[in-house]
């Protein structure tokens, strides 16, 4: 359930987009300042390319500026911006990202993440390090990177995450659970790969 601060943030975004749609450039500037970090982060993680990420960031807010009057308000402004950014990133996407990932059982993902293994604590240690998280995220399939960024990094609600990804809530939850397990598995494997040298 969203807390009061989340609700106040969402209402402030709605006020800003309404004023921006009426031509208030300062309101649009305030909206940009509130969301540019998150949009840039999503774009960076989805494209894995600094120049492409900057293009996506700019294209997203240009589209938002042009389309402010068309914001329907049936989701949050944040999820609307993320959806625009995701489509922009898709246009910049590499062909390799379009390759579907082979399905993997939850059992196999759980085992890879360290279920019943003595080294599962390496995941806990790696999750404390920004560089390790970024390295592991970059290895995940693009759809799993997106759901992790929206739900876990940016803290969107389940409904807003599903809306931004154009998924049903159960489908989003399933993807999120698998993505978390795959990220844990990647951190565990990379922990083994990065044994400190003396």
């Amino acid at each position: 359930m969203p807390d009061q601060a989340d609700l106040a943030d969402a209402q402030r975004d709605r006020d800003l987009i309404a004023r921006a749609a009426a031509g208030d450039r300062a309101a649009f500037g305030a909206l940009v300042a509130r969301h540019r970090g998150a949009i840039h982060r999503l774009a960076t993680i989805l494209t894995r390319d600094a120049a492409a990420a900057e293009d996506v960031l700019q294209d997203t807010f240009v589209a938002a500026l042009r389309g402010a009057a068309g914001f329907r308000g049936d989701g949050s402004v944040a999820s609307w911006l993320f959806a625009i950014a995701r489509h922009a990133a898709h246009r910049h996407g590499r062909r390799a990202d379009q390759v579907p990932v082979a399905p993997e059982s939850l059992d196999a993902l759980g085992a890879a993440a360290g279920w019943g293994q003595p080294d599962v604590e390496t995941v806990v240690a790696a999750a404390e390090e920004r560089a390790a998280l970024e390295r592991a995220l970059a290895e995940l399939p693009v759809d799993e990177r997106a759901v992790l960024v929206l739900r876990d990094v940016e803290g969107l609600s389940g409904h807003d995450t599903a809306a931004a990804l154009e998924l049903t809530l159960p489908a989003m939850k399933s993807r999120l659970h698998r993505a978390r397990l795959r990220l844990a598995a990647t951190l565990r494997r990379q922990g083994g790969d990065h044994v400190p040298r003396s």
Partner: protein, 86 residues
Amino acid sequence: MSLDRELAGLTCRQVLDRLGDYLDGDLAPAARAAVETHLRGCDACARLGGAVGAVVGGLRQRLGGDAPADVAARLSERLAREAGEA
């Protein structure tokens, strides 16, 4: 060790399946209590739950922040051009 092991009315496989909803607080009270009872008695599930919880916490705490200043400045310039052309 097998995911078929049952404790508190749940197998380890069922706990693994519900771990995401458990971490997000999306389970009904009775289902949550069952998972917690299982976790108290099952080291493998508890440690995996701790690891996945640490991943979620790490993502929330370590990857935030604003866009770099030069990126933000170029974005402002582009938007000023767009607004001027509108």
